[in-house]
Symmetry: C2
Subunit: 155 residues, 2 copies
Protein backbone atom coordinates (compact mmCIF):
# COMPACT_ATOMS: atom_id res chain seq x y z
CA UNK A 1 0.00 0.00 0.00
CA UNK A 2 1.15 3.48 -0.77
CA UNK A 3 2.29 5.69 2.02
CA UNK A 4 2.35 9.42 2.38
CA UNK A 5 5.48 11.10 1.15
CA UNK A 6 8.39 11.70 3.45
CA UNK A 7 7.78 15.42 3.20
CA UNK A 8 4.30 15.03 4.60
CA UNK A 9 5.41 12.60 7.26
CA UNK A 10 8.13 14.88 8.43
CA UNK A 11 5.73 17.78 8.59
CA UNK A 12 3.39 15.73 10.72
CA UNK A 13 6.27 14.88 13.02
CA UNK A 14 7.44 18.48 13.07
CA UNK A 15 4.03 19.49 14.34
CA UNK A 16 4.45 17.14 17.26
CA UNK A 17 1.89 14.67 15.98
CA UNK A 18 2.28 10.96 15.74
CA UNK A 19 2.25 9.12 12.49
CA UNK A 20 -0.30 6.38 12.70
CA UNK A 21 -1.46 4.03 9.97
CA UNK A 22 -4.77 5.89 9.84
CA UNK A 23 -3.16 9.27 9.41
CA UNK A 24 -0.90 7.83 6.84
CA UNK A 25 -3.85 6.56 4.83
CA UNK A 26 -5.63 9.88 4.97
CA UNK A 27 -2.58 11.96 4.14
CA UNK A 28 -1.74 9.65 1.29
CA UNK A 29 -5.25 9.84 -0.15
CA UNK A 30 -5.20 13.61 -0.05
CA UNK A 31 -1.76 13.65 -1.55
CA UNK A 32 -2.80 11.36 -4.36
CA UNK A 33 -5.92 13.35 -5.11
CA UNK A 34 -4.19 16.66 -5.83
CA UNK A 35 -7.56 18.32 -5.74
CA UNK A 36 -9.95 19.12 -2.91
CA UNK A 37 -11.88 16.11 -1.65
CA UNK A 38 -15.28 16.51 -0.10
CA UNK A 39 -16.09 14.96 3.25
CA UNK A 40 -18.16 12.15 1.79
CA UNK A 41 -15.64 11.50 -0.91
CA UNK A 42 -12.81 11.36 1.54
CA UNK A 43 -14.68 9.15 3.97
CA UNK A 44 -15.54 6.79 1.15
CA UNK A 45 -11.94 6.69 -0.03
CA UNK A 46 -10.74 6.03 3.48
CA UNK A 47 -13.29 3.27 3.92
CA UNK A 48 -12.16 1.73 0.63
CA UNK A 49 -8.59 1.76 1.86
CA UNK A 50 -9.38 0.43 5.30
CA UNK A 51 -13.02 -0.01 6.28
CA UNK A 52 -12.16 -0.14 9.95
CA UNK A 53 -11.22 3.52 10.09
CA UNK A 54 -14.08 5.46 11.64
CA UNK A 55 -15.53 8.76 10.62
CA UNK A 56 -14.47 10.38 13.83
CA UNK A 57 -10.89 9.45 13.12
CA UNK A 58 -11.11 10.96 9.66
CA UNK A 59 -12.31 14.29 10.98
CA UNK A 60 -9.91 14.21 13.90
CA UNK A 61 -7.06 13.53 11.55
CA UNK A 62 -8.12 16.34 9.26
CA UNK A 63 -8.22 18.66 12.23
CA UNK A 64 -4.78 17.54 13.33
CA UNK A 65 -3.32 17.90 9.87
CA UNK A 66 -4.95 21.25 9.42
CA UNK A 67 -3.48 22.42 12.67
CA UNK A 68 -0.11 21.23 11.47
CA UNK A 69 -0.61 23.32 8.34
CA UNK A 70 -0.62 20.29 6.11
CA UNK A 71 -4.21 20.34 4.95
CA UNK A 72 -6.47 23.25 4.24
CA UNK A 73 -10.19 23.53 3.98
CA UNK A 74 -11.58 25.22 0.95
CA UNK A 75 -15.21 25.90 0.34
CA UNK A 76 -16.23 24.28 -2.88
CA UNK A 77 -18.87 25.82 -5.08
CA UNK A 78 -22.20 24.66 -3.78
CA UNK A 79 -21.20 25.43 -0.25
CA UNK A 80 -19.48 22.14 0.39
CA UNK A 81 -16.19 21.87 2.15
CA UNK A 82 -13.21 20.39 0.44
CA UNK A 83 -10.05 19.13 2.08
CA UNK A 84 -6.81 19.67 0.40
CA UNK A 85 -3.20 18.79 1.03
CA UNK A 86 -1.28 21.94 0.50
CA UNK A 87 2.32 22.20 -0.48
CA UNK A 88 2.88 25.71 0.69
CA UNK A 89 3.83 26.44 4.24
CA UNK A 90 2.24 29.31 6.06
CA UNK A 91 -1.01 31.08 5.44
CA UNK A 92 -2.05 31.22 1.84
CA UNK A 93 -5.05 31.12 -0.41
CA UNK A 94 -6.27 28.95 -3.23
CA UNK A 95 -7.20 29.21 -6.85
CA UNK A 96 -9.42 26.28 -7.71
CA UNK A 97 -9.74 25.31 -11.33
CA UNK A 98 -13.26 24.29 -12.15
CA UNK A 99 -12.04 22.36 -15.10
CA UNK A 100 -9.55 19.92 -13.64
CA UNK A 101 -10.13 20.56 -9.96
CA UNK A 102 -6.49 21.49 -9.56
CA UNK A 103 -5.43 24.02 -6.99
CA UNK A 104 -2.86 26.73 -7.19
CA UNK A 105 -1.56 28.44 -4.10
CA UNK A 106 -1.58 32.19 -3.71
CA UNK A 107 0.96 33.40 -1.23
CA UNK A 108 -0.08 35.77 1.49
CA UNK A 109 2.40 38.26 0.14
CA UNK A 110 0.34 38.56 -3.02
CA UNK A 111 -2.82 39.47 -1.20
CA UNK A 112 -1.62 41.62 1.63
CA UNK A 113 -1.30 44.83 -0.42
CA UNK A 114 -4.92 44.35 -1.41
CA UNK A 115 -5.94 43.78 2.19
CA UNK A 116 -4.02 46.80 3.38
CA UNK A 117 -5.77 48.86 0.80
CA UNK A 118 -9.11 47.62 2.04
CA UNK A 119 -8.08 48.48 5.57
CA UNK A 120 -7.29 51.99 4.52
CA UNK A 121 -10.40 52.50 2.44
CA UNK A 122 -12.83 51.01 4.93
CA UNK A 123 -11.17 51.98 8.18
CA UNK A 124 -11.22 48.33 9.08
CA UNK A 125 -8.57 46.19 10.68
CA UNK A 126 -8.32 42.85 8.93
CA UNK A 127 -7.75 39.96 11.28
CA UNK A 128 -8.39 37.07 9.06
CA UNK A 129 -9.11 36.67 5.42
CA UNK A 130 -9.14 33.48 3.53
CA UNK A 131 -10.59 33.23 0.12
CA UNK A 132 -10.95 30.64 -2.49
CA UNK A 133 -11.25 31.77 -6.04
CA UNK A 134 -12.82 29.69 -8.78
CA UNK A 135 -11.88 29.82 -12.37
CA UNK A 136 -10.03 28.03 -15.07
CA UNK A 137 -6.35 27.31 -15.19
CA UNK A 138 -4.25 27.92 -18.27
CA UNK A 139 -4.17 24.26 -19.12
CA UNK A 140 -7.94 23.84 -18.96
CA UNK A 141 -8.56 27.10 -20.79
CA UNK A 142 -7.18 25.04 -23.60
CA UNK A 143 -4.27 25.55 -25.92
CA UNK A 144 -5.34 27.60 -28.87
CA UNK A 145 -8.46 28.74 -27.07
CA UNK A 146 -6.94 31.28 -24.78
CA UNK A 147 -9.10 33.94 -23.29
CA UNK A 148 -8.96 36.82 -25.77
CA UNK A 149 -7.39 39.17 -23.27
CA UNK A 150 -4.90 36.79 -21.83
CA UNK A 151 -1.99 37.35 -24.12
CA UNK A 152 -0.42 38.98 -21.08
CA UNK A 153 3.14 37.79 -20.51
CA UNK A 154 2.52 36.02 -17.23
CA UNK A 155 5.51 34.65 -15.47
Amino acid sequence: MAVASDAVRSRILAAGQRITPQRDVIAQLLEAASRPLGATELCAAVAAEDPRIGRATVFRTLAALEQAGIVAQVSLPGGQTGYLLCGTDGHHHHLVCQGCGGVDDVLEAAVSPFLRRLERDHRFRVDHASFTIYGTCARCAGPGVPRSARSTPAR
Copy 2:
Protein backbone atom coordinates in the same frame (compact mmCIF):
# COMPACT_ATOMS: atom_id res chain seq x y z
CA MET B 1 -45.76 43.54 13.80
CA ALA B 2 -42.98 45.18 11.92
CA VAL B 3 -42.75 44.74 8.20
CA ALA B 4 -39.80 44.77 5.89
CA SER B 5 -38.92 48.14 4.47
CA ASP B 6 -40.44 49.31 1.22
CA ALA B 7 -37.03 49.13 -0.40
CA VAL B 8 -36.79 45.43 0.36
CA ARG B 9 -40.36 44.77 -0.68
CA SER B 10 -39.94 46.50 -3.97
CA ARG B 11 -36.76 44.56 -4.64
CA ILE B 12 -38.63 41.33 -3.99
CA LEU B 13 -41.30 42.42 -6.41
CA ALA B 14 -38.73 43.55 -8.94
CA ALA B 15 -37.29 40.05 -8.92
CA GLY B 16 -40.69 38.69 -9.86
CA GLN B 17 -41.31 37.12 -6.48
CA ARG B 18 -44.42 37.43 -4.41
CA ILE B 19 -44.50 39.10 -1.09
CA THR B 20 -46.02 36.74 1.40
CA PRO B 21 -46.37 37.17 5.15
CA GLN B 22 -43.66 34.57 5.66
CA ARG B 23 -41.20 36.31 3.39
CA ASP B 24 -42.03 39.54 5.03
CA VAL B 25 -41.20 38.12 8.44
CA ILE B 26 -37.89 36.73 7.28
CA ALA B 27 -36.83 39.84 5.40
CA GLN B 28 -37.77 41.98 8.32
CA LEU B 29 -35.81 39.85 10.76
CA LEU B 30 -32.73 40.01 8.58
CA GLU B 31 -33.19 43.72 8.14
CA ALA B 32 -33.50 44.27 11.85
CA ALA B 33 -30.46 42.16 12.62
CA SER B 34 -28.00 44.14 10.51
CA ARG B 35 -25.48 41.39 11.02
CA PRO B 36 -25.24 37.89 9.65
CA LEU B 37 -27.64 35.46 11.26
CA GLY B 38 -26.82 31.79 11.44
CA ALA B 39 -29.30 29.18 10.29
CA THR B 40 -30.30 28.16 13.79
CA GLU B 41 -30.51 31.72 14.95
CA LEU B 42 -32.68 32.69 12.05
CA CYS B 43 -34.95 29.68 12.36
CA ALA B 44 -35.40 30.42 16.04
CA ALA B 45 -36.19 34.06 15.35
CA VAL B 46 -38.68 33.09 12.70
CA ALA B 47 -40.30 30.59 15.03
CA ALA B 48 -40.52 33.26 17.71
CA GLU B 49 -42.25 35.57 15.29
CA ASP B 50 -44.61 32.95 13.94
CA PRO B 51 -44.17 29.35 15.06
CA ARG B 52 -46.19 28.06 12.15
CA ILE B 53 -43.51 28.95 9.61
CA GLY B 54 -41.63 25.81 8.69
CA ARG B 55 -37.93 25.30 8.20
CA ALA B 56 -38.37 24.52 4.55
CA THR B 57 -40.03 27.86 4.04
CA VAL B 58 -37.18 29.63 5.76
CA PHE B 59 -34.59 28.07 3.51
CA ARG B 60 -36.74 28.46 0.42
CA THR B 61 -37.23 32.10 1.23
CA LEU B 62 -33.54 32.59 1.76
CA ALA B 63 -32.85 31.01 -1.60
CA ALA B 64 -35.44 33.20 -3.27
CA LEU B 65 -34.13 36.34 -1.65
CA GLU B 66 -30.59 35.41 -2.47
CA GLN B 67 -31.54 34.90 -6.07
CA ALA B 68 -33.15 38.31 -6.01
CA GLY B 69 -29.88 39.72 -4.75
CA ILE B 70 -31.40 40.78 -1.47
CA VAL B 71 -29.64 38.44 0.88
CA ALA B 72 -26.14 37.08 0.77
CA GLN B 73 -24.54 34.12 2.41
CA VAL B 74 -21.32 34.71 4.23
CA SER B 75 -19.26 32.03 5.87
CA LEU B 76 -18.84 32.88 9.50
CA PRO B 77 -15.67 31.98 11.34
CA GLY B 78 -16.05 28.42 12.49
CA GLY B 79 -17.32 27.36 9.12
CA GLN B 80 -20.92 28.28 9.79
CA THR B 81 -23.05 30.04 7.25
CA GLY B 82 -24.56 33.41 7.98
CA TYR B 83 -27.40 35.07 6.15
CA LEU B 84 -27.31 38.73 5.62
CA LEU B 85 -29.55 41.35 4.07
CA CYS B 86 -27.35 43.41 1.88
CA GLY B 87 -27.94 46.96 0.86
CA THR B 88 -25.68 46.97 -2.12
CA ASP B 89 -26.94 45.87 -5.47
CA GLY B 90 -24.79 43.71 -7.66
CA HIS B 91 -21.93 41.42 -6.81
CA HIS B 92 -19.92 42.54 -3.85
CA HIS B 93 -18.02 41.25 -0.88
CA HIS B 94 -18.21 41.66 2.86
CA LEU B 95 -16.10 42.89 5.70
CA VAL B 96 -17.43 41.38 8.89
CA CYS B 97 -16.56 43.05 12.16
CA GLN B 98 -15.88 40.49 14.83
CA GLY B 99 -16.62 43.06 17.47
CA CYS B 100 -20.10 44.23 16.67
CA GLY B 101 -21.00 41.78 13.94
CA GLY B 102 -21.60 44.63 11.55
CA VAL B 103 -20.96 44.21 7.88
CA ASP B 104 -19.46 46.58 5.41
CA ASP B 105 -19.82 46.05 1.71
CA VAL B 106 -16.84 46.00 -0.62
CA LEU B 107 -17.76 46.80 -4.16
CA GLU B 108 -16.62 44.57 -6.94
CA ALA B 109 -14.76 47.52 -8.42
CA ALA B 110 -12.46 47.52 -5.43
CA VAL B 111 -11.42 43.92 -5.85
CA SER B 112 -11.25 43.51 -9.59
CA PRO B 113 -7.77 45.03 -9.96
CA PHE B 114 -6.57 42.51 -7.42
CA LEU B 115 -8.27 39.67 -9.29
CA ARG B 116 -6.86 40.81 -12.60
CA ARG B 117 -3.46 40.82 -11.09
CA LEU B 118 -3.96 37.28 -9.86
CA GLU B 119 -5.11 36.24 -13.30
CA ARG B 120 -1.96 37.63 -14.78
CA ASP B 121 0.39 36.19 -12.22
CA HIS B 122 -1.15 32.74 -12.14
CA ARG B 123 -2.29 32.39 -15.72
CA PHE B 124 -5.73 31.68 -14.37
CA ARG B 125 -9.07 32.96 -15.51
CA VAL B 126 -11.19 33.96 -12.53
CA ASP B 127 -14.83 33.03 -12.90
CA HIS B 128 -16.08 33.55 -9.44
CA ALA B 129 -14.59 34.92 -6.31
CA SER B 130 -16.46 35.79 -3.21
CA PHE B 131 -14.68 36.42 -0.01
CA THR B 132 -15.56 37.45 3.43
CA ILE B 133 -12.98 39.17 5.49
CA TYR B 134 -12.98 39.26 9.26
CA GLY B 135 -11.64 42.01 11.37
CA THR B 136 -12.55 44.98 13.45
CA CYS B 137 -14.32 48.09 12.33
CA ALA B 138 -13.14 51.55 13.27
CA ARG B 139 -15.85 51.93 15.90
CA CYS B 140 -15.03 48.66 17.61
CA ALA B 141 -11.30 49.26 17.37
CA GLY B 142 -12.05 51.80 20.02
CA PRO B 143 -12.00 55.57 20.11
CA GLY B 144 -8.76 57.15 21.16
CA VAL B 145 -6.64 54.44 19.67
CA PRO B 146 -5.35 55.79 16.39
CA ARG B 147 -5.65 53.34 13.57
CA SER B 148 -2.11 53.80 12.44
CA ALA B 149 -0.89 52.21 15.64
CA ARG B 150 -3.14 49.23 15.52
CA SER B 151 -2.93 48.03 12.00
CA THR B 152 -1.99 44.41 11.94
CA PRO B 153 -1.02 42.53 8.86
CA ALA B 154 -3.51 39.86 8.00
CA ARG B 155 -2.57 36.43 9.13
